[in-house]
């Protein structure tokens, strides 16, 4: 009980800190802020930004709950339909209020519906065991050599996590290999490689598609002017995933070599052949094709995402109970990030703050390198999505409002690079839910995770910087 008591009192302390600091910011006079012409509304946004940051870092309440808190406070403090006695529209220093409709619309923003489509595909795939059957069909192709089996497991984890959530992918693949690992000799180091390889590959796979992981959703929101299509994202996302996957695999077999000659992995393959199951397979293929071929048919990826939602709902593939199992918490977590970005942008605070920092004194490449590194570091210690929620609006503003930054491509490159670096944060059990699951097996030590995680993070960071430079030189994203 001592451990529980100390956890509980730590949580209380965190809650107090996360409430007190923003409250102090809220009641200070505007003159103490080092920004010329700051409005009362902008001051409130600063307080809300600190509130969100502290709640997302310290986690006194679940991270999606913080998003809902943030959106509600925006409605009360910043919107044109907020509390009357907090509004002073005649006062010149009050600033412009946000439209309450715009704040509420973050719950149904196109990127949210894109993710909903992704969730429907994943839910249907797991309900009709499509994911497990594909794993069972493809894994034997990698042979019996432990190194190749590991490569097979990691490749499948990466591919699945491009379309399913990283957590669900990791949980599925770990469930497949845990019984297998029990047959390994007790001191065989390669067990660590198997347990770590799966979550790492799942984290990496998230980079591959716009729906791979929630930070990508926030990125898309800030890239809406760049017309970054599904196929275009995959054109540079998938190569990064491939290179990182191979590097990660090499690190795993170098650090944790196997003493076994042969690994026998047998998974029962039993593809369902009912009409509904066939409909699921077909819808899956057609949706992905439509996402990739948007230039041919004109529907953007958000509109395409509604097709699986509609097909599965109308045919009962996803019924009322399945609908309740959809991760609404993830969608709301992303909504909170979009709402925070909206407040920073529409009140003009982001531009005001970024312009008051003398970024011009630094080489734009230095700024670029530092920003992506900050993303990587933060994501190791807190939720990837929460990191994206906090950082990406600032990155987008740095990219657009600092003239120099055009030399490295401006906001598109800043946002994409930071988003990718966020997904590379995987050195601790708290870095991401897939890492937490690997930790839950009790078969890996934090130092092993940290050793490979830090290397993968740093190599990945350099690779992303290189990739962005190349993309900029060939002018791929504009």
């Amino acid at each position: 009980m001592r451990t529980l008591r100390s956890l509980q009192s730590a949580k209380r302390l965190k809650l107090i800190i996360a409430l007190v600091i923003p409250s102090i910011i809220l009641i200070l006079p505007t003159s103490v802020f080092p920004f010329d012409g700051i409005t009362i509304i902008q001051q409130r946004v600063i307080a809300l930004f600190f509130l969100a940051a502290l709640f997302w870092v310290l986690e006194p309440i679940p991270i999606f709950a913080t998003s809902v808190l943030l959106i509600t406070l925006e409605l009360l403090l910043l919107s044109d339909s907020g509390l009357t006695w907090l509004q002073h529209p005649t006062d010149a220093s009050f600033g412009t209020m946000l439209s309450y409709k715009e704040i509420m619309a973050t719950f149904a923003s196109p990127v949210i519906l894109l993710f909903l489509g992704g969730f429907f595909l994943a839910e249907a795939a797991s309900k009709y065991r499509l994911d497990q059957n594909i794993a069972g069909l493809l894994l034997p192709k990698f042979g019996k050599n432990p190194k190749m089996v590991l490569l097979g497991l990691m490749s499948l984890s990466a591919v699945f996590s491009m379309f399913m959530s990283n957590t669900a992918t990791t949980a599925m693949m770990l469930a497949i290999i845990i019984p297998l690992l029990k047959t390994f000799p007790a001191n065989d180091k390669s067990k660590i490689a198997f347990i770590l390889g799966i979550p790492f590959a799942a984290n990496l796979g998230g980079l591959g598609t716009p729906i791979g992981t929630p930070p990508n959703a926030i990125a898309l929101k800030f890239l809406s002017d760049a017309h970054l299509t599904f196929g275009k994202w995959m054109a540079f996302g998938v190569p990064i995933v491939l290179v990182m996957l191979v590097l990660c695999w090499l690190l795993m077999i170098a650090f944790f070599p196997s003493s076994a000659k042969e690994v026998n992995l047998s998974i029962k393959v039993d593809f369902l052949k009912t009409p509904k199951a066939k409909l699921v397979y077909l819808t899956f293929v057609i949706t992905i094709l439509l996402w990739l071929l948007d230039f041919a048919h004109g529907m953007n990826s958000y509109v395409v995402a509604m097709i699986p939602v509609c097909v599965f709902i109308t045919t009962g593939v996803i019924n009322k109970e399945d609908l309740k199992a959809i991760s609404w918490d993830v969608l709301w977590l992303v909504s909170g990030g979009i709402a925070l970005g909206l407040a920073l942008e529409k009140t003009g605070l982001a531009t005001l703050v970024i312009q008051s920092i003398p970024f011009d004194q630094f080489h734009p490449y230095t700024v670029f390198i530092c920003c992506s590194l900050i993303g990587l570091i933060m994501a190791n210690f807190m939720s990837h999505t929460a990191t994206a929620n906090l950082l990406l609006p600032l990155m987008a503003t740095i990219g657009t409002s600092i003239v120099n930054m055009q030399q490295v491509g401006g906001s598109v490159y800043m946002v994409v690079a930071t988003t990718f670096c966020i997904s590379l944060g995987m050195s601790l059990p708290i870095s991401s839910p897939p890492n937490a699951l690997a930790n839950a097996t009790g078969l890996v030590q934090t130092k092993d995770m940290a050793k490979v995680g830090v290397l993968v993070g740093l190599i990945g960071w350099l690779l992303v910087l290189g990739m962005m430079t190349i993309l900029y030189l060939i002018d791929f994203l504009s």
Partner: protein, 162 residues
């Protein structure tokens, strides 16, 4: 973080203490309440719920004076407050009829025989705790060291968490 409780019900004090001793490792994060009768357990559970805390798992003996373990678990099964609470019957002396009642009317989750093996009991409680924590929608991350990871993976497979 929530207070999650495991309730042990057993009329013989030495046996009760032996069960508690075997489940010691859970005490790091979970409260374990030792009750010597069904009536005592009912009082304790009401207090827990009144405080807004959670009754995750019950491990109950069957043959006890006044109210039997099976009758206690049947009442519990009919109480919507404890609909998610996982029920383990730990007994040597249940008749065929008692066992039928335990399954049909008390909806027990597990039947363990006395004398029990420590690993078996710990495994059973950890499995039940895993189910309860996920059913109740509690954050499982602080508890992972106490949970059954295979059950955790199988159940999370279907959840499109972040």
């Amino acid at each position: 973080m929530e207070n999650v409780t495991i309730i042990l019900v057993e009329d013989q004090r030495e046996v009760l203490q032996a069960i508690a001793k075997d489940l010691e490792k859970f005490e790091e994060l979970i409260r374990i309440e030792e009750c010597e009768s069904a009536a005592e357990a009912e009082t304790v559970m009401k207090q827990i719920v009144d405080k807004g805390d959670y009754v995750a798992v019950i491990v109950s003996d069957h043959v006890m004076p006044n109210k039997s373990g099976v009758d206690f678990l049947i009442d519990l099964n009919n109480n919507p407050t404890f609909k998610r609470t996982r029920k383990i019957l730990l007994t040597a002396l249940a008749t065929h009829q008692d066992t039928i009642q335990a399954i049909n009317k008390a909806n027990i989750d597990l039947y363990l025989e006395k004398p029990w093996k420590k690993e078996e009991l710990v495994f059973a409680v950890s499995t039940m705790l895993t189910h309860y924590i996920l059913d109740a929608g509690l954050d499982y991350t602080p508890y992972v060291s106490l949970l059954n990871s295979e059950i955790l993976f199988t159940r999370l497979r279907n959840a499109s968490d972040v």
